[in-house]
Amino acid sequence: MTTVAPLHGAGVPATGKPVLEVRDLRVHYDTDVGQVPAVDGASFSLQSGERLALVGESGSGKTTLAMALLRLTRPPGRIVSGEVLLNGQDLLKLDDKEMRGVRLSGIALVQQGAMNSMNPVVRVREQLLDGLYDHGIKLTKVEARERVAQLLTGVGLTPEVADMFPHELSGGMKQRVCIATATSLGPKVIVADEPTSALDVVVQRQVMVTLGRLQAGLHAAVVLVGHDMGLVAQFADTIGVMYAGKLVEVAPVAQIFGRPLHPYTKLLIESLPTLDHKQEKFVGIPGLPPALLDLPPGCVFHPRCPSVMEHCRGLAPGLREEQSRRWVACHLFPGEQVRNA
C-alpha cells in the first residue's frame, strides 16, 4: 500500500507537523456473506486551519471514514487497521475512557441531522454545558451563564436562546447550537458530516459561514463530508474524492474544479448543472457504483471509465503524488510513489 506524504491545501502553508494524520485506515462491515471493505486504505493529513472536504456518492465510504476518525464506528462496522494521529497521538490505540476524553476536546463532530437528536426536554443552556461538565470543567453559575452566552454569540445567536427548548428553534438555529456544542471545548479538528443537508439554501449558507468563522477563530482543521459539490467549492481548501471505499483523488479545490485528473472526478464535475447557460444535454456517469461485496478486480472504477486501459483490469492503482500537493489513484498518471520517511 502506498503511504502518502503530508499534504497541504492550497493557500495553507506547511507549518510543521499536521494536526491530523490518517494512515491506511481500513473499516470493514461484517455481514453474513463476508466482510465489506467500506473504507479501504485511506490516507491523508491535515494542517491546522485547513478545510478538507471528503466528497463521494452513496456507498463511497465517506461517512464511514468520518465516523472512524472519532472512533464512533458501530457494529457491524469495525476498524480493521490503520492509524489516526491527532497531534501525533494515535486515537485507535486509546482505551474507551481516554477516547471519551479526546472526543469534543480534541476532535468534535457535527452530524447530519444533529439538530434532530437534541434532547427535546432539555433547554439549550444545559445541552451546551453538558459537554463541558462531562469533561470535568467546573463553572460557577455566573461563569456558566457567561460561557453559554459566549458560545451562542459565537454562532450568531442571541443569549436569550439559552433558555429555549429545541422545538422553539428553527432548523438552522438548532444546527448552529450543535456547532456551538461541538466547538465548546476548542477542538483541534472538527468533523462535519453533511451538516446542512436538511437545511434550506439560505440557512445553509449562514450555517457554513458560521462554521468557517468559528473554525478560523480556533485555528482548527475541518473535515467536511458531503456530496454537494457546490457547497464544498464554497467552503473547502482541499478536496478528497472517494469512490467505493477508496480515495481516488486529493487536490486543492481550484485544481479539482479547474483541472480534474481522475476520470471519475472529471465525469462528476462535468455532470454538475450550471447557472451560466441552459445546457442542451444533461450528462451523467453511465453505469452504477459497484456493490461493495462484489468489487471489480483491479481499479474499482474501470467498468465505468471512459479511458480504461487493459492495465486497469489487473492492477489497482494506489494514490500517487502526481505533482506537488496533488494525489491521484489512476494508471493514467503513474507519478511517483511517495513513501513516508
Binding site: 462491515y29 461484517d30 455481514t31 453474513d32 457494529p75 457491524p76
Partner: protein, 301 residues
C-alpha cells in the same frame, strides 16, 4: 440450496433466492424463534406418537384400574377414577391447544378487522373503536370470564370455551395493529396505490395487510398463549368442560381428589409440565417473531 426459477408477471425469469435465502439465514440468527419452534415441534411429536399408542377412550374414567403407578402398560399410571393418564395428556394437550387456537383465531380476526377500519378510516369510527378497546383492556379479564362461564347453564364444551375467551382476547391485538396501521397509512406507497386506482378496502388488503403479517402472526401466537392460560385458569376453578380431559380440567380433578396430598406425582406433574412447555414454546415464538417484525431489535444486518 437449489435456486429455483420463476416466471414473474412480465416474463422475466428470476431466481427464487431473495426471500427464501434470507428466511433461512435469519432463522439461524434468531435463537428464540428456533427454540420456541423446537419446543412446539416436540410437543407435536409427542402428541402424534402418543395418539398412535393410545386412543381417546382410555382418557375416560373406569378405562383402567385406578391409582396405578407408572408402568410399561400405563406409562403415566392412572388416576383415582381409572383414567389412563397418558391418554389424558395426549388428548388434553390437543384439546387445550384447540381452545387456545379458537380463542386466538377469533380474537385476531375481530381485532384485525377493527384495527384496520379504525386505523385507515380514522375519524369517529376510530374514536369509537379506540374507546371500546381502551375500556375493555382495563377490565380484569379473568373476572369477566368467570362471570360469563359461571352464568352459562349446563357448563361449556371445548369450542364454547374458546369463544368465551375470544370475547376479550381481541382487544390487545386490535390495539397493537391499529398503531401499526396508522404508521403505514402515511407511507408514500399507499398514496401511489391510490393514485394507481385502488380503492380503500383494496389498499387495506393488498398494500397494508401483507406488511402487517409479522404483527398479525405474532399477535396471534400471543393470543393463543393467553387463551390457553385463561382457559386453564377457568378450568382449574371447575368452570370448564368437565367431561373433556383438557389440561386445565385435569388440574381441577387433581385439586378435587387432592392428588398432591396423596403423592400421585404422575397425575399432577404431567399436565403442569405440558402447560409450561406449551406456554414457553409459544412465548419464545412470539419473542422471535417480535424480533423479525421489528428490525431495530436485530443485532446484525
Amino acid at each position: 440450496m437449489q435456486p429455483a426459477v420463476a416466471r414473474t408477471r412480465f416474463g422475466i425469469e428470476r431466481r427464487l433466492t431473495g426471500r427464501w435465502l434470507t428466511t433461512y439465514r435469519y432463522a439461524r440468527r434468531n435463537p428464540a424463534l428456533l427454540m420456541g419452534l423446537a419446543i412446539l415441534s416436540a410437543l407435536f411429536l409427542f402428541w402424534a406418537v402418543g395418539s398412535l399408542m393410545v386412543d381417546s377412550s382410555e382418557a375416560r374414567p373406569l378405562s383402567a384400574p385406578p391409582d396405578l403407578r407408572p408402568s410399561l402398560e400405563y406409562p403415566l399410571g392412572t388416576d383415582r377414577v381409572g383414567r389412563n393418564i397418558f391418554a389424558v395428556i395426549v388428548s388434553g394437550t390437543v384439546l387445550t391447544l384447540r381452545i387456545g387456537l379458537i380463542a386466538g383465531a377469533v380474537g385476531i380476526s375481530i381485532g384485525t378487522v377493527l384495527a384496520f377500519v379504525a386505523g385507515y378510516y380514522g375519524g369517529w369510527i376510530d374514536a369509537v373503536i379506540r374507546g371500546v378497546v381502551d375500556t375493555l383492556i382495563t377490565v380484569p379479564q379473568l373476572l369477566i370470564l368467570i362471570i360469563i362461564a359461571a352464568s352459562v347453564r349446563g357448563g361449556l364444551n371445548v369450542e364454547q370455551m374458546g369463544l368465551v375467551i375470544a370475547t376479550l382476547s381481541w382487544t390487545r391485538p386490535a390495539r397493537v395493529m391499529r398503531a401499526q396501521v396508522l404508521t403505514m397509512r402515511q407511507r408514500s406507497y399507499v398514496e401511489v396505490a391510490r393514485l394507481s386506482g385502488m380503492s380503500g378496502p383494496e389498499v387495506i388488503f393488498r398494500e397494508l395487510m401483507p406488511n402487517l403479517m409479522p404483527y398479525i402472526v405474532a399477535s396471534f401466537v400471543l393470543a393463543v398463549a393467553g387463551g390457553i392460560l385463561a382457559s386453564v385458569g377457568l378450568e382449574a376453578l371447575g368452570l370448564g368442560p368437565l367431561e373433556s380431559p383438557t389440561l386445565g380440567v385435569t388440574i381441577y380433578w387433581n385439586i378435587y381428589y387432592s392428588s398432591l396430598l396423596h403423592g400421585m406425582w404422575w397425575w399432577w406433574g404431567p399436565p403442569m409440565l405440558i402447560i409450561v412447555l406449551l406456554f414457553v414454546g409459544l412465548f419464545l415464538v412470539t419473542a422471535g417473531l417480535d424480533e423479525w417484525a421489528n428490525p431495530r431489535l436485530r443485532k446484525r444486518i
